[in-house]
Symmetry: C2
Subunit: 596 residues, 2 copies
């Protein structure tokens, strides 16, 4: 089997770190306890391992292809997508009102990881549909909801996000696509959109494009952008499909990775205008788009974890099979599987610790999201929302950056074989590189972290989280075990480094923006590192208690070792990052432009 | 122009850090002063920029191809290789006795960087020939030298290294290819060799394979390996080519990068045995192979620098062209080229500092090599040899690991465009990944660093270098400028971290090999980081003096800023690495095998 879903680790997080039983007490989640989580995850594991994972390498060898405006997905994808939708997986987290299963994100995120581990190119299609569904749920009229939601939630139709234009990438103020109001209340949309993931394909009957454009006469900049629904096929009153809309795929990109996922250039309005339906109010498009973006950013963070997990599993398997050289400690007097070599263990442990740390963080983030949306108490909702919003740029930025290191180590463990495409490790390395770029580059996440998540409240949310971490340190001290004390030492040092940086950011964003933004990505990396390490420290405490209670000692001992490794080898980077950020800003921006 | 050779930076290193005028006083290098260096580098720049660089992307799109045992290089490569050999570039560093130019490595390495920046796939062919030449010069009989060297040095023929077999990668003890002695003093060679770079191609008239194999009855393990020359075509007494030898290319690999460089599977002896000529003595093959390997390891380190430079140049160009968003400091009231954004500057400065630091280190290493081989004083030769040998695993390991980060940042600077193959940034990212693997993975370099270069002399060489670094710190303190003091602070901290690690390694390799080798790669990264940062600190001191003397202030100021950036942002990682190595060994090897 090329992928085995880490159901046990996921359930450990869901039960002990994300506290699923508390979530199951929230209104609407009454049936979503640990038993449900286990049943859903096991079903998801079966499907992703058996159906999606075997198609992953095929998608790389035989990418989705374009001919005369028609995109054909990699052989096997259409059938797999039908099984995906038949299984109800698209609607997992969406409201039962529109045919979804209404499960908490705490459960849904784990399933999302499995889909992405199994086949990241495939997974992008439902990920984008999720974003479209969120936007319509939040801002769509009743008519739009009635027309589109049920088929999006079932997966009969898929959704896309159309933001980017050749001159407008991170800078959406430069969007030029335009929408002309028509007398019937619809709009005609004109323009070119690029980098549209699954923007055209043959896996679903219809594609629902959510498109940013400017209504004629709208203000310049981001305040003049509106959001439209442009379906590929018009939808008749009875729900049947009508004429082809004037949106066409003129090409797809030749990419380094995620090759099965067609990245479309879409042309709107070359034949009279694409019919568009306004979502919400005019000129509030960016606000609605951020709803999609935030859901998608969390989702991309999960992709980082997912591909890291897959790369880890492949590397472990190879290192148990490949026999080369004797162990340095003389424990085996013949050439041995390379997993016996300390540096191979170091690489595998690095991969494992990063992946488990980020998974734990994402699980806790999902739990906060669920509480923020379902808790009856307004203050609790607000606190959880602030916690979740702080974590989103970390989950996106840190988990994807770590996936670059993990997939690179995955190739490295394979030695020369890793560089041969047929081995498969290289695909993960190539696929992963998109993750630090799309849905906002790491720098864009770091801008969000600095501006909206730290400077805006003077670092209060960040400091509040630091106080929670201090509590964990006290619990580690109370445990008193050698591992707990070692982890507490690193956690404290990282927390203190973090507080220095938060003070630096909160204190200087207005007066010295260049200095603060010079350290924005290092701040994100330090914060993400700390938060993931913190969750593993909490996991260590749980594991110690579970061992004491006689539960599953091998798994729990491994969790402790992994937490200890994370602290010793990854949290230990925090001090250097602090120094770079707080003391090193000047040299980032000092070089004259002409000297580059 | 897609590549502009950094001649100025190279000459700065050659003049001020590698002290070319001292090398020009060594016997044999009388004509190799700064003027010669400048003339050679400028000629090399013209050739690599104009001829080799434009073929780089073509090689990725249109890789070398195999059909019926014949490998055809990417269109244009054969003609370019003819120009390369006509220009005398293959013989740059080789003895004048065999038609070479006999220039010092200090000059040759800079030219090698250019060839690799321009076209890494192409550059591998002469790099492998260099190794074959070195081995024959050192261990070949007069007859072998007379038969092969002149044509290898001219580039009329090319050379290869045949080590790897499917079961024998890092572990050469497992080599199974065998050689049967013949009555005429030749051998018949049988076996399968894989991963043979430029193992078959159409760019040269003949290919001289250097092959590891076991003579019938030889001892097991590495002590029973001999080295043979197996030419593709037999060479007649008069030097003309004779019959085809029984070595055939049965396939080439489908790789993630360096696609124009054919990676061959070579089959020896399927039709009666390939004629082989023993190099040196039986059973000493590994020793001779290490001559090739050590030359090649230094060369691969230079490849890391080379591809980092190319990625940097591309990223700088894009960031000056691409307009997105307003600068955070309000200095421009409209969307601006992205180089105005602090995080883009951080990425470019990181790329630049790594590249310049590793280039300076390689230049100083080359200078030590020249002194070790040409200095009239035996003690001076010995000191330089020890210095060079300590640096080789760092130049190979650190420069190639840094090239992964630099080429990844290169893609990142391009945003979404970086993931599109036509942009070209992705090629560098894919190409670079082989560098940490071939000619010994980073872990193999780290084994060398720990075992032969540190533990064997109880850390004396390492400590001696640390003492030299302390002298540089004193010079920085004496300068007293803010930049010099800031760099001195980081350099001292990194040196102290390094000494802790050297003590740990020297003190524990025998008693606790697992603990030491768990930190071997982090030790290599710390040592490489320190040595590169040290060279930039020396460069800062030179630059301050040059500015005081009124020489080229803009270049010198940029060198100071880059050195400062290196110290603030890269040397600052040293403390975390020290903690990981010295305090974190236990958690690397603690996990039970079945828990992976």
């Amino acid at each position: 089997m090329s992928y085995v879903a880490p159901v046990k680790d996921m359930l450990f997080n869901i039960e002990h770190l994300a506290n699923i039983e508390q979530i199951a007490q929230l209104p609407g989640f009454e049936d979503a306890g640990l038993d449900t989580a286990q049943a859903v995850l096991e079903e998801s594991a079966k499907f992703t391992e058996g159906v999606l994972a075997p198609l992953n390498w095929e998608g790389d060898k035989n990418p989705s292809s374009w001919k005369d405006g028609v995109v054909t997905a990699t052989p096997g994808f259409k059938e797999a997508f039908k099984q995906f939708t038949d299984g109800g997986w698209q609607g997992l987290q969406h409201p039962t009102d529109f045919g979804g299963q209404g499960l908490p994100k705490t459960i849904g995120a784990a399933c999302g990881e499995m889909v992405n581990s199994a086949n990241m190119s495939f997974a992008l299609c439902p990920l984008l549909s999720d974003g479209a569904i969120e936007a319509l749920l939040t801002a769509g009229s009743d008519e739009l909801k009635a027309t589109y939601l049920e088929n999006l939630v079932s997966g009969k139709w898929t959704g896309t996000m159309n933001l980017t234009e050749p001159q407008a990438g991170s800078d959406l103020a430069m969007v030029r696509s335009r929408a002309e109001p028509q007398t019937d209340g619809t709009y005609k949309v004109f323009g070119t959109k690029i980098f549209i993931t699954w923007g055209e394909h043959d896996m679903a009957e219809n594609i629902v494009h959510l498109v940013l454009a400017r209504v004629t006469g709208a203000p310049e900049g981001v305040k003049g952008i509106s959001l439209f629904v442009c379906p590929k096929f018009m939808v008749n009153k009875d729900g049947s499909l009508g004429a082809r809309n004037d949106v066409h795929c003129v090409s797809i990109e030749h990419k380094m990775g995620i090759k099965a996922s067609p990245t479309a250039v879409l042309q709107y309005g070359d034949h009279g205008g694409a019919v568009g339906y306004l979502v919400g109010q005019e000129n509030r498009g960016l606000e609605y788009m951020f709803i999609m973006m935030n859901a998608a950013r969390y989702g991309v963070g999960v992709q980082g974890i997912a591909i890291a997990e897959r790369a880890y599993q492949k590397a472990v398997q190879f290192s148990k099979d490949r026999v080369q050289s004797r162990p340095v400690d003389g424990s085996i007097a013949a050439s041995a599987p390379i997993i016996h070599h300390p540096d191979v263990k170091r690489m595998l442990m690095t991969m494992r610790a990063y992946t488990e740390g980020c998974r734990a963080l994402a699980s806790v983030g999902a739990s906060a999201y669920d509480a923020a949306h379902h808790h009856p108490d307004a203050d609790t909702r607000k606190q959880n929302q602030a916690f979740y919003e702080y974590m989103v740029p970390l989950i996106k930025g840190y988990s994807t950056e770590m996936s670059l290191e993990v997939t690179s180590l995955g190739v490295q463990v394979h030695g020369g074989m890793g560089f041969i495409e047929e081995t498969g490790a290289a695909q993960y390395y190539r696929d992963a590189k998109i993750l630090t770029i799309y849905e906002g580059t790491t720098a864009i996440q770091a801008n969000d972290l600095v501006g909206r998540k730290t400077a805006r409240d003077g670092g209060q949310t960040a400091k509040g989280i630091a106080a929670q971490i201090e509590t964990t340190e006290a619990e580690l001290a109370a445990s008193g075990s050698a591992h707990a004390l070692a982890v507490a030492k690193r956690l404290k040092a990282a927390r203190l480094a973090f507080i220095d940086v938060v003070d630096f950011v909160a204190g200087n964003t207005k007066a010295s923006p260049n200095a603060v933004f010079a350290g924005s990505v290092p701040y994100l990396m330090l914060a993400g590192n700390l938060m993931a390490g913190w969750q593993l420290a909490r996991a260590l405490l749980v594991a110690e208690k579970q061992i004491a209670a006689g539960n599953d000692a091998p798994f729990m001992q491994a969790k402790i070792t992994t937490a200890r490794f994370y602290a010793d080898h990854l949290l230990s980077k925090a001090g250097g990052l602090r120094d770079s950020i707080v003391e090193g800003a000047e040299s980032v921006t000092a070089l004259a432009l002409e000297a580059f």
